[in-house]
Amino acid sequence: MAVQDWTYRLNNFRGKKLIAIAFLVFVLIGIPFVIHSPYYIHLLIITGMNAILAMTFIMMLRTGLISLGIAAFWGIGAYASAALVLKAGVSYWFALPAAPIITGLIAWAIGYLVVRNPGFGFLILTSVIGMLIGLVFGNIKWLGGFTGIEYIPPPNPIQLPFLDPILFISKIPYYFLMLVLFLLVFISFRALYTSSIGRAWMAIGLNPHLAESTGVNVFRYRLIAFVIASAAAGLEGSFYAHYIGSINPNAFNIFKTIHVHIYAILGGTGFAFLGPIIGTFIMTFVPESLRIAKEIEPILTGALLILLIIFLPGGILSLFDLRHRHWQSFEGVIRIGKGIKNSPSSSEQRNEENHVKSERLK
């Protein structure tokens, strides 16, 4: 969804985009009946999971927050859900909504401290969190320590009025659950982006000083983005825990977060939904189909990343939409302070500070 589309396409939600989306959903629902290989269903599920995480990365990126801690909140959701089901004995269907709430609360507490330092500070602090979380979970014996939690039960069967209950044994019920969760996240994210909240985020992302001067509480809105993104990651973590069946602190590290970044960037960060989806899809399916050996996969991915960032910074989708080729949309977000365009008040401030500093240079 292009940046400008948010504002005046509100009425067009009933337009052709809706039809395209409905068609896609229809196709997705039909897939398990056509493709019978559990392996490909598994890949699709994985794609869905990582696409959600990539979407949360973009939500934060749009407000100027580059988070290296996404995997941490993913992990918190996973552990919260597993703990609730295994230790408190609740049904999965209670744990599933509880996980994002718990994650969101923790994210609120952490974010309150961390969002204060936007830019570099946020980057480093979230990377600290990313590192820390593995250690924290590893040291909590009650949660399984460094071996993690195993034998996490699948979701409880869903009782339907006239049909047989849905058992989570084969991959197919998981597929549909992932589809439902994905749509949930997609719809709520879209609703946010097209509302005044999303507009405030956009303003913050484009020009935080200007946004501030028009009455937008930049800190509060960034915090909101952070919390919502983290809660979504937590939701996804809950699904992950009960799908894979076991969780391990080593899985929730910074390299996972970096992979999430890659999915989003490959697709194109100018696109809040299509970008992450396409990027995740490519990164999940292409290495598999090309049978790329595990040994050289990071090298190829790294090289891909570098080539991408030099030649195609807007991601793959920028090939189709020239507007986003040069990340114009994010002047305010990812400008280094002394980049080409400065916001005026910061340049004045810097002039004053430079005046003082130049005394020291001599």
């Binding site: 609703a191 000083h209 001067s213 028009t214 114009q328 005026p344 401030q349 003082v356």
Partner: protein, 252 residues
């Protein structure tokens, strides 16, 4: 309307403003002039909440707003423009102004999230309000243009539109006519008078003396962060200190 008492602002060892007292009265147009580096923009930055003062107070309509953050100051009713055009470059002109209406939402956040009919109605009416402001300033033919494509003068006018979007009681204009040709300047002068006739108090930092003399009711002169003169045109023009500040002392 606005009182500044004993204001000081230091940056490291550099004193940008010291012990400044200033009043801005209702419905007036106040001119703030002075040589470069006198602290005029710093003054605006402090009033509008971008810097916290080192010492002193800022009082707006009996309310102490010292140290409030920029968005809070905007919510209180003070709005400003910047010396360098500060716009949302990749958005259209209309979107720029519309985005600045953020403060005016009355429906609850939940309703906006769920896109209820009342929320959608409010969006439409805020859009209309943005269009009205553009029409008031004469920019509405350009409303779909990306802000980056505007001429310098148009961008300055857009800046003012955006400042007006927050329905301020006090408008701080930082060098509104700098870099404009005489035709544009005249247009801008008319616009500023019309803004005043809408009941908005205005303070202008400007270097263009003609503009200041024609437009402003009162003038304040700053130099080295201090107020060296205050009053009507004639008093300022004949003030010895002011002349010295701009032209330097005589050798004799």
């Amino acid at each position: 309307m606005l009182k500044v008492k004993g204001l000081s602002k230091n940056f490291g060892g550099l004193s940008a403003i010291s012990e400044l007292d200033l009043d801005i009265f209702n419905s007036e147009i106040l001119g703030v002039i002075g040589p470069n580096g006198a602290g005029k923009t710093t003054l605006f930055n402090v009033i509008s909440g971008f810097y916290a003062p080192t010492k002193g107070q800022v009082i707006f309509n009996e309310q102490d707003i010292t140290g409030l953050k920029a968005h809070q100051v905007a919510q209180v009713g003070i709005s400003r423009t910047f010396q360098v055009s500060n716009l949302f470059m990749s958005l259209s002109v209309l979107d720029n102004v519309f985005t600045c209406h953020h403060m005016s939402y009355r429906t609850s956040v939940w309703k906006r999230f769920l896109h209820t009919p009342s929320a959608t109605e409010e969006e439409k009416s805020l859009r209309r309000s943005a269009l009205e402001i553009l029409e008031f300033m004469g920019l509405d033919p350009l409303k779909e243009e990306p802000a980056a494509k505007l001429t310098h003068g148009q961008q300055k006018a857009l800046n003012i539109c955006m400042a007006l979007a927050t329905h301020p009681k006090l408008l701080l204009l930082d060098e509104p006519v700098t870099g404009m040709n005489p035709v544009e300047i005249q247009t801008m002068l008319n616009l500023i008078s019309r803004i005043r006739s809408r009941g908005i108090t205005i303070a202008i930092v400007e270097h263009n003396m003609q503009v200041v003399m024609n437009l402003c009711d009162r003038i304040v002169v700053l130099n080295h962060g201090q107020k060296i003169a205050e009053g009507l045109h004639k008093e300022i023009v004949e003030n010895q200190e002011v002349i010295e500040a701009y032209l330097g002392k005589d050798e004799e």
